[in-house]
């Protein structure tokens, strides 16, 4: 009777994903877990296309809408092929503490019957691929309206392999040193959001401010698109967080619940703070708050209970409002669509608060934070954040510098003024 819903077995599998090689001891396919993971994969793909593409496209000026959507769509196709060739194997096969091996080069050996825990390895590979897609896609918001498309493709190719794959291996791969150090990241606070947020900050700084930034009207052209995008991100995030349980059980259900609660709390927090500070609650504000909440709960979603989710959401809403307004203005970089302000700040807040609110009743044996008697977890989390920030910042800068030298990063001023839609892609929204 224990053979399929035995909590023990499932649980072992859940832990296995984060602390040890992804292949569990008992190689039995669980069709129900598989059903949920197939669904989750579809949901997370939907987050990037059309979710993120719309979220970002709605915020730019009309002349750059298609270019933004193009970047997201192209990243989706590009990273898929890269992940098949080398990304997956570098991230998820046995290697050393820093990088995986080449066992699954070109998905070699990934047969139809290969399992990863209780699900087919093909499904696990696909689920993880959708994470590998959305992470670089997030960065596109930082240099919107001004990057050359060719340089963009080169940058994304290199970044996927040289930044994403290793960081993913450290946290989720077999033998990764961050997971060995006890860093908790349920669904990608460090791997996805801090990683993208910091890369975005570096990109925004190195490519320079948009022509007309601060003087011209750069009001978002059509926030309807951004609301659709944020909504699809929200819905799709159930696949992201609840899917990260890699099982169809109470852990997935609880991850879904805390995700919903944190997101809503953050949306309301941003809305009310903005209302108080600026006099009006804006649509862009509430959707930004929701995304901030989604980001912050991501690392915590398998470890905290509903009250923890509520508090994380509230803090994230306020912190990211501060990040996207005061911080950006004060420091003066032009992170066009606030990749750092939302994903960087939100990711860091979430990673640290995971160290505060993690409770063993949710995350299982040993996954405890401050309120469960383990204050040291905050330091462990800070260590994970620090390492990721440092690595991403340095390597991203080096990559950009190289590309800048070889082929340039930026379109010409005329192309920028005309808009990327017509100048790079020969099309316009009429």
């Amino acid at each position: 009777m224990l053979h399929r819903n035995g909590n023990l077995a499932l649980w072992a599998m859940g832990l296995a994903l984060f602390a040890t090689p992804v292949r569990a001891d008992d190689p039995t396919l669980n069709a129900a877990d598989t059903a949920w993971m197939l669904t989750s994969t579809a949901l997370v793909l939907m987050m990037t296309i059309p979710g993120l593409a719309l979220f970002y496209a709605g915020m730019v000026r009309q002349k750059n809408i298609l270019a933004v959507m193009m970047q997201n769509f192209a990243v989706c196709a590009l990273v898929t092929v890269l992940w098949m060739i080398a990304g997956y194997t570098l991230a998820f096969t046995e290697g050393n503490a820093f990088i995986g091996g080449l066992d699954r080069f070109f998905l070699n050996g990934l047969t139809k019957d290969a399992l990863s825990g209780t699900i087919p390895e093909s499904v696990f590979m696909m689920f993880q691929m959708t994470f590998a897609i959305i992470t670089p896609a997030l960065i596109t918001g930082a240099f919107a309206d001004r990057m050359k498309f060719s340089s963009f493709l080169v940058f994304m190719t290199l970044w996927s392999l040289v930044v994403y794959a290793p960081v993913c291996h450290w946290v989720w791969g077999p033998g990764g040193f961050l997971s060995a150090a006890g860093v908790l990241d349920f669904a990608g606070g460090t791997v996805v959001h801090i990683n993208a947020g910091i890369a975005g900050l570096v990109c925004a700084s190195m490519i320079g401010i948009r022509k007309g930034h601060g003087t011209e009207n750069m009001a978002p052209h059509n926030l309807t698109y951004s609301v659709i995008g944020a909504s699809l991100l929200w819905v799709g995030w159930f696949g992201f967080n609840a899917g990260s349980a890699v099982a169809s059980n109470g852990a997935a259900g609880m991850a879904m619940a805390v995700t919903q609660i944190a997101t809503s709390a953050a949306a309301l927090a941003w809305m009310f703070v903005e209302w108080a500070v600026r006099g009006k609650p804006s649509v862009l504000g509430i959707v930004s708050g929701a995304v901030a909440g989604l980001v912050a709960i991501t690392p915590a979603s398998g470890f905290v209970d509903p009250m923890g989710g509520l508090i994380i959401g509230l803090v994230a809403g306020v912190a990211c409002f501060w990040g996207a307004t005061w911080l950006k203005k004060t420091v003066g970089y032009d992170d066009s669509l606030d990749v750092f302000g939302v994903h960087g700040v939100g990711g860091i807040v979430g990673a640290l608060l995971t160290g505060v609110f993690a409770v063993q009743a949710i995350g299982g044996e040993g996954k405890a934070g401050l309120i469960d008697g383990n204050p040291g977890q905050i330091l462990t989390q800070a260590y994970g954040v620090g390492v990721t920030v440092l690595y991403t910042a340095v390597v991203t800068a080096v990559l950009l510098f190289g590309i800048k030298t070889v082929m340039g990063l930026r379109v010409t001023p005329e192309e920028e003024r005309e808009g990327l839609d017509i100048s790079l892609h020969g099309e316009t929204v009429h």
């Binding site: 915020m59 009001a219 978002p220 804006s282 862009l284 307004t325 606030d338 302000g341």
Partner: protein, 108 residues
């Protein structure tokens, strides 16, 4: 003939049209424009940035009328478009040296 051109607030278009119809002027051409003037613009706020929209939505109305009707037309527009608040707009009268109706080829 004269071309009476008025820049008015968008929500006044129907009132102006009715006022003109009242004395038999049944044709006009309407253009969406944006106006810059004393009326101060609206502020839009997007995350960290405020944009003051100095160019406000206005509507331009063009009515070709016989010289004899210019006074009446100007008065009618002025009254119908009037709110008394800044930004009500302007009326300019231009000379038409020649006109034609395309369908018939005759002058108006």
């Amino acid at each position: 003939m004269k071309l009476v051109t008025a820049i008015i607030k968008p929500f006044k278009v129907d009132d102006v049209r009715d006022a003109l119809s009242a004395f038999g002027i049944e044709g006009m051409t309407v253009t969406e424009v944006r106006g810059y003037g004393r009326q101060k613009g609206q502020t839009e706020i997007y995350r960290g940035t405020e944009y003051v929209i100095t160019l406000l939505p206005k509507v331009k109305i063009e009515v070709a009328v016989d010289c004899a009707l210019v006074d009446k037309t100007v008065t009618a527009i002025r009254e119908a478009a009037h709110t008394g608040k800044i930004g009500d707009g302007k009326i300019f009268v231009l000379d038409i040296s020649r006109s034609a109706r395309i369908r018939t080829g005759e002058p108006l």
